[in-house]
Symmetry: C2
Subunit: 205 residues, 2 copies
């Protein structure tokens, strides 16, 4: 299969490649130095480009990092947006367990980058704000699934979908950070089964 | 009732008063300036003491802040350590709902200081570490309650007490931060009922 950028005019191809080189260099620098210690100088040196060129693509370190974080989060969104149309409680349980597993596994596969994300959220108000918006997108998506399950008379009707989705995302997010930081303290399967049991036990009839 | 420090020798009374003055001044400075912008100079000026004296009591800004945070957290521990000996699921539900309410209300009463705590956790690894230890203490206490409910055949036996306690604390902690930051977006009662329903529905038979 041909690379889709091959169809673009030469100048646009060049621009996309430069941007891609800056992102790749940025990722390497953040992984090596962490967020706070990383500098744009290190990035442009690694990407073999100048300040002026880099500035065309990314206003500053925060913006470059946010782009990397968005790319990473798109993989998580794919998990959150998996079709969810269970006909019975057991099917819901299996679907949800599967989603939790994929979500946590993805974080562990990207463990080193997630550690940098955690550091960056703590020190950059811009990145913290971006993380909050990412979180709200997940919570909205989960709310849709809860409303579906309520409409199917599978989930308890008295629960508020938005609050329940928030509660559920918080548990997943916090276990995700805990596993990223201290994976060795946990058995993944136990965490997945416990999280899923608590959630489906609370939500489903 | 006499103040308990009245019984101490004069020199110790003086020392305790100086320490107390530094803590009070520290709290005011942190509330005014936030954690990062606060300086020991501001604190000693407000406490009307010198650097050398301040250093006797607190090695640095982080240590003074951690002491303030511990004092605040002791109020939260009191809620976590309330007697929990339910004989039936309904009694457990009422006890837990009451605990959630007290926990969230305390955070809202201390909202301004909690905002500084959140900022400090993000920027100081020492304070972040302290927060993690505080969290573990809460989780251990909740685990005890879960084991009690399991022994009473009220709670599901297949759930892991430590993981379930962690999941539950995470939901409370995250809603607490969310309310501290955006109280106006929520109805407290809805949050309390939803959290408690999800937890007791998941955990109890």
């Amino acid at each position: 299969m041909k690379n889709p950028i091959d169809h673009l005019p030469a100048r646009q191809q060049q621009a996309l490649k430069t941007r891609q080189r800056l992102l790749q260099a940025g990722k390497e620098v953040f992984l090596e130095s962490g967020f706070q210690k990383a500098t744009i100088s290190q990035v442009i040196k690694k990407a073999k480009t100048g300040y002026g060129t880099a500035y065309v693509y990314f206003k500053n370190k925060d913006e470059l990092f946010i782009t990397l974080m968005e790319d990473l989060m798109n993989q998580f969104y794919e998990v959150a947006e998996m079709p969810f149309k269970p006909q019975a409680k057991e099917e819901a349980y299996e679907n949800i367990k599967n989603q939790v597993r994929l979500f946590l596994q993805l974080a562990l596969d990207e463990r080193d980058m997630m550690k940098v994300v955690k550091e960056a959220i703590g020190v950059s108000p811009e990145i913290e704000g971006k993380w909050y918006r990412i979180r709200e997108r997940f919570i909205e998506r989960i709310s849709v699934d809860i409303r579906y399950a309520q409409a199917q008379k599978l989930a308890k009707e008295h629960l508020d979908p938005a609050l329940t989705a928030r509660c559920w995302f918080y548990s997943n997010e916090m276990f995700m950070w805990e596993l990223v930081m201290n994976e060795e303290k946990y058995q993944m399967d136990d965490v997945i089964v416990n999280l899923t049991s608590m959630y489906t036990g609370g939500l489903y009839e």
